[in-house]
């Protein structure tokens, strides 16, 4: 059972949080002796054309640059080869949410790179709602986790951790306490130990939710970014900070996420899934940084 946390705890910690965010934005870990995580933010305003459509070539370049820096190598093919072998069976866990799905162009860019590694098309599948019955996902040896970054009504944010909810037969069983236990999903046999890359699509993230399906197009913006990490918790931690910062900028006041996205912290503390503490996340920023907010 999680401990009692009140408004007063947040009031008490406000100055410390501010400090933590400031430290987390740097290029070095606060304490190199403690284990940390690396997250790459890559942005390019040219990824969207004047009508808001994605330019696949620009997106592909962003993806390659991000993976290169994430793995610290000079060549994108080498980077992808470190993630996936030609013998792997690869499930690309996407997100089909009608209002803000994983862009088809991003799915295709990933598939193209997998094929380039020699993974046969019969051993690649892109899916969301049907992953449990999808034969490729059932025998997958590797997963690529890719979804848009957005606020989520019941979990605070919809990020990499939450994206695996479709791997369980009863998603609503994870709703209690603001979806605190989402990290447990990653222990499911279909998932455990298989994820090679986590990718938050922040091309047009949603920073505030409203309306019948928690979507209001006024609250998305052309951030033109991708957030990549081997650590889903670290990726979500960075994503949560980005959304919170955008809310503050947009509303002119500190308007927190509707639900505290404590499932991110619980994923670290209870499930050991990754790093949530911003001071232990090395955030590497590439490309266009105007209005990066983090």
């Amino acid at each position: 059972m999680s401990p009692l946390v009140t408004r007063r705890d947040f009031l008490r910690a406000t100055s410390q949080v501010g400090l933590g965010v400031a430290l987390g934005g740097g290029l070095a870990l606060a304490d190199p002796a403690r284990p940390g995580a690396r997250v790459v933010l890559v942005r390019d305003p040219q990824v969207l054309d004047s009508e808001g459509r994605i330019r696949p070539k620009v997106l592909g370049s962003m993806l390659d640059e991000g993976v290169k820096v994430l793995l610290g190598v000079g060549d994108p093919n080498e980077a992808w080869a470190q993630l996936i072998s030609s013998q792997d069976v690869v499930g690309i866990k996407s997100n089909v949410w009608h209002y803000l799905p994983t862009p088809r162009e991003l799915e295709e860019a990933i598939v193209t790179r997998l094929k380039g590694l020699g993974v046969g098309p019969e051993r690649i599948s892109v899916d969301d709602r049907g992953v449990r019955s999808n034969p490729v996902f059932q025998r997958a040896t590797a997963l690529v986790n890719v979804r848009p970054l957005r606020t989520h009504f019941w979990a605070g944010i919809g990020g990499c951790i939450k994206n695996y909810i479709m791997f369980v037969p009863n998603p609503s069983a994870y709703h209690p306490d603001g979806c605190a236990d989402l990290g447990a999903v990653w222990k499911e046999p279909l998932v455990k130990g298989k994820t090679r890359l986590n990718l938050l699509c922040a091309i047009t993230p949603q920073f505030y939710g409203r309306g019948p399906h928690f979507f209001d197009r006024r609250y998305t913006w052309p951030y033109c970014g991708l957030i990549l990490s081997l650590d889903p918790v670290a990726a979500d931690s960075v994503g949560a900070r980005l959304l919170a910062s955008k809310r503050t900028e947009h509303f002119g006041e500190d308007r927190p996420l509707d639900v505290t996205p404590h499932h991110i912290e619980v994923a670290e503390r209870v499930h050991g899934l990754g790093i949530s503490d911003p001071s232990r996340i090395q955030l590497l920023k590439l490309g266009w940084m105007e209005g990066s907010l983090i």
């Binding site: 009692l4 408004r7 979990a155 603001g178 309306g211 927190p256």
Partner: protein, 310 residues
């Protein structure tokens, strides 16, 4: 817009109203997803917008199929059933209409108030329109109308008014609202939100991750913002089914949130502001963020004065 086009628009809407009223009497069959609701139907046609395909219906067990996690919000407000349909002009984007039946008009008001932030547009007993979404409540019903993509707001509004006309009943907003101070006393009307559980309260004003106010389906609470010489404060008022339960909630809150305040019921929090809580019979009141202890006392007295007159 030329006068002739104004007249044509009027004619379309008039003809549409005639059509949907006929449809209201001759209900088309709805595709059932776990059982539908009795009560008002959806209009067949309004202006050039015609119902496409069949209505769909959902109940508390199947609502997750329709809206995933957001269903929790509706269930928290005692959701009973949903009718939904799409309207099109033959080409271009469609308008989605959702009509929710809640257990009571308090719940219908509650779900409406939870996300209210845009301008009132005069539909039902309370409404707003913004971002291409029309939301209104009337009786036990709450409605959402929105374009799947960009759709003129006038079209959504016409459809909303047609739907409202099919809802015959009037509802009563939560009685607690009458106990709130007046706008002239600093109340920000659009900030008023009715809630039943701590998760919904926390989404608008976080107090604690646990249910320290012992909220549940049989309690009703109001959250509101007040502005005045004291700055801007949050007021939380909860009505319990009995004085005993209100007393238990009072004790729970004091223990979990302000143990060091003792029986005084007020203290200065870590941000330098003041928080206080009092109980009057079956009603608990908390004020958060007052600039001084004197301001806090003034606000609490103002609220207690209203409660005492009920």
């Amino acid at each position: 817009m030329p006068a002739g086009r104004d007249f044509l628009s009027f004619l379309w809407i008039f003809l549409g109203l005639v059509c949907f009223q006929a449809h209201g009497l001759l209900q088309a069959g709805a595709e059932q997803k776990g059982g539908g609701m009795a009560g008002p139907g959806l209009p067949e046609q309004v202006g050039q917008w015609r119902l496409e395909g069949q209505e769909e219906s959902y109940n508390p067990e199947t609502l997750f199929d329709y809206m995933d996690g957001a269903a929790e919000l509706y269930l928290a407000y005692n959701f009973r059933s949903l009718k939904t349909a799409r309207y099109s002009k033959g080409e271009g984007p469609r308008i989605v209409v959702e009509l929710y039946e809640m257990a009571s008009s308090e719940d219908a008001f509650g779900i409406f108030s939870f996300e209210r932030e845009d301008k009132e547009v005069g539909v039902g007993q309370g409404s707003e329109m913004g971002g291409g979404i029309l939301r209104f409540w009337k009786g036990r019903y709450f409605a959402n109308l929105y374009g799947e993509e960009e759709v003129p707001e006038t079209s959504i509004l016409a459809l909303g008014k047609a739907l409202e006309a099919l809802i015959q009943e009037q509802g009563r907003p939560p009685q607690l609202l009458a106990l709130l101070p007046e706008p002239s006393q600093g109340l920000e009307p659009k900030s008023v939100r009715f809630f039943r559980n701590h998760v919904c309260l926390n989404q608008r004003f976080f107090i604690a991750n646990k249910n320290i106010l012992l909220l549940g389906p049989e309690t009703g609470g109001v959250l509101a913002l007040f502005s005045g010489p004291w700055g801007r404060v949050h007021l939380v008022m909860v009505q319990y089914p009995s004085q005993e339960k209100a007393g238990a909630a009072e004790a729970s809150f004091r223990s979990a949130y302000m143990a060091e305040a003792g029986q005084k019921g007020r203290l200065r929090t870590e941000d330098g502001r003041w928080t206080g809580a009092v109980r009057e019979g079956d009603i608990w009141v908390g004020v958060f963020g007052a600039r001084s202890e004197e301001d806090l006392a003034e606000i609490l007295d103002m609220v207690l004065g209203r409660i005492g007159k009920r």
